[in-house]
């Protein structure tokens, strides 16, 4: 068994930046990426706000040098951009120099094209190329092709909003067990009318800037994003003298087994996920320096997650904040986006502010970090929870 799971590269594209540096600058400067929607025609445009990426599909296609006959959904475009950044960041010149896999995650997949051509498919043959791009595995196959990964373990996870955290978890387990030497893990989700209307019908979309852990929170803003990490084994790190950004130290996955969409009142699943992650990391709760919370700013999540944090950490809750106010909730990609933010926090010894917070929640007395804080960090815990009761926690650390 390999002991350490080293992170040697990362890439990201989100509403607050088109690469790692831009995302970090926005986080530090308190620059949020939430605005009115501009790229999707929806009746809800005046009643919702979203975290949109500035590039059009055409611009993203150009960045990837795709020919006009390509059938990339926006999910695939964003995923390919972020994954390529991660490979470059890890300074990998030959992707097949060791046993390399890819684990991506998505919830909408190619839904953006299916909803755009729903009836056109029966009229216009030129649209047919997108039919095959609908299923969730399609974007992953395309990312693998972009990275030159062949004859390898390539798969996709879809556990709603915890998906990318689970991709990181599986990747870490495959490295630890020696099945892979290197694995690219992450997720991608674009905005779509499907998710906008879905969350709208659930009445959990805020009509203004989302306010995680605030007493008067009105719901979430949807966002689009993609992020990937390169995980490598000790052997590869030593052999190639790789620079290690951080380590995946622990992980835990549990099911709330309470309701298809709502979290249990006391966050049973979330509590279990955090406890399992601590156990795998062989850490005590007071070893955690900062929690990057799921904190979607829905009434249900923030209460349930807050209570779970109290159950795990008791009277010693570490500094915590949610970065959803910056990016919106990027669904399947959220766990990967926040993994990048957690690693940047470790590298720079900073805790990001939980923006837009005004009023303390009345159910408990814990308050998120409200101002940018310089703090020596050793370990960061990142939470991601989703529909279907899926609860995931990943712990990142500076040291192995």
């Amino acid at each position: 068994m390999n002991k350490g799971v080293a992170i040697t590269g990362m890439g990201i594209i989100s509403a607050i930046g088109n690469n790692v540096e831009e995302n970090y600058t926005s986080l530090i400067e308190g620059e949020i990426g939430i605005s009115r929607i501009s790229k999707i025609k929806t009746n809800h445009k005046d009643s919702i706000m979203v975290g949109e990426i500035e590039f059009t599909n055409k611009e993203l296609e150009q960045q990837l040098n795709l020919t006009p006959d390509n059938n990339y959904s926006r999910t695939a475009l964003l995923g390919a951009i972020a994954a390529k950044q991660a490979i470059e960041n890890a300074r990998i010149s030959d992707i097949n120099s060791c046993k390399t896999g890819l684990i991506s995650s998505t919830s909408v997949g190619g839904m953006d094209m299916t909803e755009a051509y729903f009836y056109d498919y029966f009229e216009d043959k030129a649209t047919h190329k997108y039919i095959e791009g609908h299923h969730a595995g399609d974007s992953t196959q395309k990312i693998a092709e972009q990275l030159g990964i062949e004859q390898s373990f390539v798969t996709t996870i879809s556990t709603a909003c915890s998906s990318a955290a689970n991709a990181i978890m599986l990747g870490a387990r495959l490295i630890k067990s020696g099945q892979l030497d290197r694995v690219i893990v992450g997720g991608a989700d674009c905005l779509s009318k499907f998710t906008i209307n879905g969350f709208k019908s659930l009445m959990i979309l805020s009509d203004t800037y989302n306010t995680p852990f605030d007493e008067n929170r009105k719901g979430l803003n949807l966002g689009e994003a993609a992020a990937f990490l390169v995980l490598e084994s000790d052997t590869v790190v030593q052999a190639e003298n790789k620079k290690v950004l951080a380590y995946v130290k622990g992980y835990g996955n549990a099911n709330d087994a309470y309701h298809q969409t709502a979290s249990s009142e006391n966050g049973d699943g979330a509590t279990l996920a955090m406890q399992k992650a601590l156990k795998v990391a062989e850490l005590a709760s007071n070893d955690i320096s900062y929690i990057n919370a799921h904190g979607t700013a829905t009434g249900n999540n923030d209460l349930s997650e807050g209570r779970a944090i109290l159950r795990v950490f008791g009277n010693h809750v570490p500094t915590f904040s949610s970065t959803k106010a910056y990016t919106g909730h990027t669904l399947a990609a959220a766990g990967a986006i926040e993994a990048v933010y957690s690693i940047l926090a470790l590298q720079n010894n900073v805790v990001y502010p939980n923006l837009n917070f005004k009023t303390q929640m009345k159910e408990f007395s814990i308050t998120p970090q409200l101002k940018l804080k310089e703090q020596e960090l050793q370990t960061v815990m990142s939470n991601s929870f989703g529909f279907g009761g899926n609860c995931s926690t990943v712990i990142f650390s500076k040291k192995q």
Partner: protein, 354 residues
């Protein structure tokens, strides 16, 4: 490292497979390009009020998992891992059509809530009150194999002792109509027995759910041992005979040790050559078996292949209907399964009698 066993099976397919006391005793023949499943009496397993709210795929998944639990004589498991290529198609289509037809108005959340890919896994957990590890893989024709691979890793390292693993996909009418446009569905109705004589592109579309309890402890009712499983996103420029030879070699198995090779032929003239190359290549003297004329094609159809192989190993019976050739063998010890869909996402699964 612990060994991993298939301790039970639960299958809902286009054949009457939900009754574990039978094994393809009667073969149902179809003449169509899209076929459905033989339904068990869902009410025996799920209260009607709950069942009414479930789409077909969820119902099939939940019931197949219950049959597998009964077969293993278990109340619950440590983890649940599901594979589904297309997810909850019916609810996705329903919500999408409603939002387009009604111009984003008057929408109710029910079908959206149930449209997420992990609905089956979540509903099984909810029903069992199983708070353990719960993953859903959604990678086309290796969705099920990803789930098995994950479970195997977990059981080998003793992170769990019993895991419910399954593959499930349901037919969605809108999606099927799209796939007809691009010739992924056969243009003609074809008889089950003539599937491999088809001269056209595409497959006979279908649906189904096959669940298994995998464990690192063998029990009297165990079906098989999972020796190895591997998936390949593409084959690159390597030929399938070489890929399989390398795989067997890595697992210290001679080609002659393979008693049966179970192949995923679906009658698509463009892609069946992968199987044909093996049949005339390294497995030309091996007993060859196929099954998609019985269960149809869907992203997790290979889970029916694993059901079939498990039943063969346990009963030591090889139904005539699945034989591609006739090799006299008296003892079935080792079975290799190979599947791919449209030239991508290949998988090799090696099972052994236990």
């Amino acid at each position: 490292m612990k060994s991993v066993y298939i301790n039970s099976v639960g299958s809902i397919s286009s054949q009457k497979t939900f009754d574990n006391s039978e094994f393809l005793d009667e073969i149902i023949s179809y003449e169509d390009s899209v076929i459905s499943v033989v339904n068990p009496n869902y009410k025996e397993f799920i209260p009607p009020a709950v069942s009414r709210r479930m789409a077909k795929g969820v119902k099939m998944g939940v019931v197949a998992s219950k049959i597998a639990l009964q077969d293993a004589n278990l109340e619950t498991v440590d983890a649940i891992i599901t594979g589904t290529g297309m997810g909850c198609l019916k609810d996705s289509e329903k919500f999408l059509k409603a939002l387009i037809d009604n111009d984003e108005q008057f929408l109710t959340p029910t079908s959206f809530i149930q449209s997420t890919h992990n609905t089956v896994g979540g509903q099984i957990a909810l029903g069992l009150q199983c708070k353990g590890y719960n993953f859903t893989y959604v990678h086309a024709s290796i969705s099920f194999e990803s789930a098995v691979l994950d479970a195997k890793l977990m059981l080998e390292n003793n992170e769990a002792n019993t895991i419910l693993v399954g593959g499930v996909d349901e037919i969605g009418d809108y999606t099927t109509s799209l796939h007809k446009l691009i010739n992924h569905v056969k243009p003609e109705k074809i008889s089950s027995t003539a599937l491999l004589q088809s001269k056209t592109e595409g497959a006979v579309y279908s649906e189904g759910a096959n669940f298994f309890v995998l464990s690192n402890e063998k029990q009297a009712s165990s079906y098989a041992k999972i020796v190895a499983i591997q998936t390949y996103n593409t084959l690159g420029s390597t030929k399938i005979n070489e890929i399989v030879s390398v795989f067997l070699n890595e697992n210290n198995i001679d080609i002659d040790d393979v008693d049966i090779v179970v192949l995923g032929n679906n009658g698509d003239i463009t892609y069946d050559y992968f199987y044909n190359e093996l049949c005339v290549g390294i497995f030309n003297t091996t007993q060859q078996v196929y099954y998609k004329h019985l269960c149809g094609e869907f992203n997790t159809a290979s889970s029916f292949g694993v059901w079939l192989a498990s039943k063969i190993l346990k009963t030591q019976k090889l139904p005539e209907a699945v034989k591609l050739n006739n090799v006299q063998a008296s003892n079935y010890k080792t079975i290799l399964l190979y599947n791919q869909y449209r030239g991508e996402n290949h998988s090799l699964t090696l099972l052994r009698k236990c």
